[in-house]
Amino acid sequence: MNSRMKAEGLLFTLFIGVVMAAALWFSRAWPIRASIGILALGAIGVVLAIWQFVLDAKRTDAVQERSQFDLPTSETESKWGNLEIWGWIVGFYLMILTVGFPIAVPLFVLAYSKCYGASWLLGIALSAIAWGFVYGVFEKILHVPWPTPLISTLFG
């Protein structure tokens, strides 16, 4: 386990500990009926988080401690690491806000698939499937009201 991963792990455990402590802090102001469970669990949580933090800090193994019921994360092949896919995810979200679901969905599918080597035919086919799914299932059958995109708000 490299020092960066260890520092990240410690930071995450600290974050969990802070959440537990914050839950304890906020629940003080509530009536006992609403706070008893949070107080009890928050107190246990703070103790456990400190314990976990100490364990993480002391850990010097080459291999990170992880749940036996979960798979380890794959090594990223990208130059930018996981930031690349996070960029796509956040970009998709911003695209939805800007142009709305019905346009953002095919545009995103086409852009992503083309960017990573899909042929035009495959890219357009995937976009059409995604758009058909959004239009057919959600718009026509389920009548999902899509949010008004920013572009419509700005330009009428």
């Binding site: 537990m20 469970g37 928050g42 949580g45 456990l48 019921f69 979960d70 939805i96 959600f138």
Partner: protein, 498 residues
Amino acid sequence: MESMIEAALEGLYQVLTPNSLGLMCLGVLLGSLVGFLPGIGGPSTLAIMLPFVMTMKDPYAVIALLVGFDAVGNTASAFTAVLISVPGGSGSQATVLDGYPLAKQGQAMRALSASFFASLVGGLIGPFVLLASLPFLRPLVLSFGSPEFFMLTLWGVTMVGVLSGNVPLKGLLAGILGIFIAAVGADDKSGIERFTFDTNYLIEGIDLVLVALGVFAIPECIDLAARKTKVAETQELGHGFWQGARDVYHHWWLTLRASAIGIWVGFLPGLGSSVADWFAYAHAVQTEKNKDNFGKGDIRGVIAAESSNNSKEAGDYIPTLAFGIPGGTSTALILTALIAVGINPGPEMLTSQLNLTFAVVWTLTIANIIAVAICLAFIRPISRMCFMPFFSLVPMILVFVFIGAFAANRSTIDLIALLGFSFLGFTMRRHGWPRSPLVLGMVLGDKMENYLWLSYGRFGFEWLTRPGVMIIGVLLVISLCYPMLQNWRERKRQAVLP
């Protein structure tokens, strides 16, 4: 006895009329589609269907459509759970744990086949247990109060330890975090707004769909995108169709036990599909030998989760039909529709309206057979998704996830919450934190708190001395100690080995 046979035949005849059969097939197809599409819950689709169904006059048609729809949602949800690690419905969340690793090993066919055969077994056992149990379970359910229900939810929370495997501390912290997330919103008991920070959005609480999509689906998608390969790590689709069937046959005892757990969870009002598969999965991990492979592609994990989530649907109908107490959200909506067409769930369903009870039983049975036949017939074409390159799957999964997250409450703020939970799930996975306890904590936390206060409000501390509480307490202690004892034995056995 004669009247029972007559009622059974009458129920079967009514279910097999062209009108009812056609509506049942429509229900099965809709249920399978909703089960296959991640993020679109059965209850939300049922809610949309209700206004149309209530205009029908024939109670058998309503039963055929709605019960047929409800019976099969969990069957088709295994497709996406196994192939792209996005559970189609809340009942297949535990299937992801072993189904997806099996797909990555090129054994998607085997995992899906086992999943559908297990679903079939669970789906067939459920209706018959429903029928057989009605006269016996009535006094038991009536004797259960909030203290017993509290103990049952507490039992569920202790499963967190089992689901955390070798990192119990992280598991418990994740479980507590899940309980805190469930606490967000207006508190039913006191009316106090908890962790809402004066925002309207948080008053309604945080939807489990968002948390499940963020914590499970996006991290797996990120992993797939980071790897830049196919979903399956090998090029072999595998010829595991019959192997999957043999797996279910070979693990018949586990299949039966998991089905029984599903029925039991369904039978208890308030504990939904999202709990049944976790309980059955935890039970398999707790009781099966050679458990090291669980979470890495153990077929027993798939069998346990899938047989329980299907049998659970029948279990849901036990309190719904016999006492008019819906076992879950879907049955609550179906109950509304049944009452609207003149069916009165309650003791009459065991006497004068027994033919309607049989119609439910037959619909559950036939719908499951149809759904499994459809799924088995389409295993191969859909399994080919495993060989799609990442650039075809990643954007499609992200589209499913974002639309699913939006469709849950139709709020764009949900998309921001989705991003937050995605980052949480990604970080948890990256640093070896188990994610299942977070979801289990969230499912059970709210119920546990409510039952505790109801128990204290009604009985003071005397609720602790109730026989039912003590019996469940003993079972809880046994379930906690048994894995520890097994671990101790295993360590002792390994220490003896040269």
